[in-house]
Symmetry: C2
DNA sequence: CTGTTAGCGCCTTCAT
DNA sequence: ATGAAGGCGCTAACAG
């Protein structure tokens, strides 16, 4: 691999001059810059990030930690990174609230973090964010010192609930998931609050006993079992609208209810959240909420870069627009 | 961050001695080693990978390039990496056969590659494998100079087909996917060959006109459209067994046929491949083939490390055992 | 505007 | 068995 020194020799200048041309942050004569760039092309020079990082103590590599694979977010992050001249390395961590990813910061591989749907203890997060630029994408914990990019989960669920009310639904159930510790992810809390707020705004009475919480670690079968409780209810006792926190839960409900002879959406409307494949895979297909994942990822990347450049006095919270997707499982008013 | 020099000072030895203790490849007195290790703990020292990589020109960071997110493989790769003292950085590339990932090798971030389900031109792959250790996991191209870990896709499909034959099926269709260029991934070729081999071995006549190939880029709706052609056939003309190359295709067929009133598995047996969530999401649930993803990932990692250590004279091909998973869509004989 | 110099953290040869 | 010295590729401070 050609090194910066090789480029310098080939162009007949000093190594530091090459460095200056490449960084673009120092004044160099146009003629000289042209010679350097020509040499870069001829030698197919690629800067060595180890040398650069070691010397400058800065890193253009962003660590992306995710607990849920969302292709759209990944593509958005990568796309923005590419435009901005950054690299992203990603790390799948199925056990949430673990600090294993710190290794990748401490050993110098990366210099900043984007969390995607990753739940991390508030206190730890606070400490961490003082050492490394950090942004939370999609899921987040409340923290004034943390940057975040997401949709307005509460508003999204409010909007969805409102449409069902306008379509004539009256007996509502909300199916949330609950983590082993009994904690709800913050976005899940927000969605539930949005749901309640919509009922209240429209004066719809609500019986919490109709709702349920599914174990976050439940597999599909577990979700089906929960749904069977609803399938087994007397028609008069069953909710006429079941709002699920995620598509896969919604799909489990649709499949289970239909198999038991309950009419969807005739007797019960069912909805999901995220507009994943699962929403299309069930019959009838699932009404759901779509998030602008690509933009969310791209914004998260831009935000990190701003922070790295110190462009930002304060951390920011970016909210992007959601979109309701109506399918057969719950028709629009 | 404490550096190696800090550790040396704290332990009262020379930096080079600390390095020797940590690498374990030089003789150091037990007493001295103990002092060093104590200092490492007290200072919470983490070796800086940039300094190490720059100096040694070796990297313990493995790049994982994938076009399909398979949690099991990821976890296997990470688990083995952790045991062996390696790091994994991963890169999602939806556009297959692209060389963008080379950047991460050329800039020194990583020193070897694991491809997961990533199709890469044979010639390029050959060139690359001469510069960087490389293993293909799950999908692979035929190449004597390349290491690979996978199940025996041909044998898996042979076994599945044979079970359907033994269960009395006689009119077989095989639904493959075809990439824009008209090329089949190698594993897809192998599966199709295994299917044909089983029919031949049991003397079952085969009408290729019954089979079809779905555009690899088709979304769920596209798959449903293909399935509708089969739903619309006269009962006497329709295959009584439809073997799909992937679960999601199988799910589309199950859903579409059932919705059209065709009995699954009564009139048609349907199968998938991979045992993903999609196989559970459809009704009836899908008979499929399970791969030992975790082990595949772990083996791929071990193989890379062997190659990096030069332990391996020749590249290797590791085949792991598949498992048939029978569900309602195609019952066992 | 360009070049010289020093050193980021680490490993490895060589001398002791 | 231990330490001293050099240098991997790069950038930043300084000199010219």
């Amino acid at each position: 691999m050609a090194s910066l020194k090789d480029v310098a020799r080939h162009a007949g200048v000093a190594p530091s001059t090459v460095s200056k041309v490449l960084s673009g942050r120092y004044s160099v004569s146009a003629e000289c810059a042209a010679r350097v760039m020509a040499a870069v092309r001829e030698l197919d020079y690629k800067p060595n990030l180890l040398g650069r990082g070691l010397r400058s103590n800065r890193s253009t590599t962003v660590l992306m930690v995710y607990s849920t694979f969302v292709p759209g977010i990944m593509m958005g992050v990568h796309s923005a990174a590419h435009e901005l001249g950054y690299e992203v390395v990603s790390l799948y961590m199925d056990t949430v609230d673990d600090e294993y990813f710190m290794k990748y910061l401490e050993n110098g591989l990366a210099g900043s973090v984007i969390f995607v749907n990753y739940r991390f203890d508030t206190e730890k997060l606070g400490k961490l964010s003082r050492k490394y630029p950090m942004v939370q994408c999609s899921e987040y914990v409340k923290m004034s010192s943390s940057s975040q990019v997401s949709v307005d989960n509460g508003q999204a669920m409010y909007d969805l609930t409102e449409q069902l009310i306008l379509a004539g639904r009256r007996r509502f159930a909300f199916i949330n998931t609950v983590a082993p510790g009994g904690h709800l992810p913050f976005f899940a809390e927000e969605r539930e609050r949005g749901f309640l707020r919509a009922l209240e705004a429209h004066g719809i009475p609500y019986d919490p006993a109709l709702s349920a919480r599914c174990d976050a670690e439940a597999d599909y079968e577990g979700m089906v079992q929960l749904a069977q409780r609803y399938a087994a209810m007397k028609d008069s006792e069953r909710p006429d609208a079941i709002l699920c926190i995620r598509d896969i839960l919604g799909a489990a409900f649709v499949n289970t209810l239909v198999r038991a002879g309950v009419k969807v959406p005739g007797q019960v409307a069912v909805t999901g959240f995220d507009n994943t494949t699962a929403a299309e895979l069930c019959t009838p297909q699932l009404t759901t909420v779509e998030q602008p994942f690509f933009e969310m990822g791209a914004e998260a990347m831009r935000l990190i870069v701003s922070m790295l450049n110190g462009d930002l006095a304060v951390n920011r919270r970016i909210l992007l627009e959601h979109r309701l997707v109506f399918r057969e499982s719950a028709l629009q008013a």
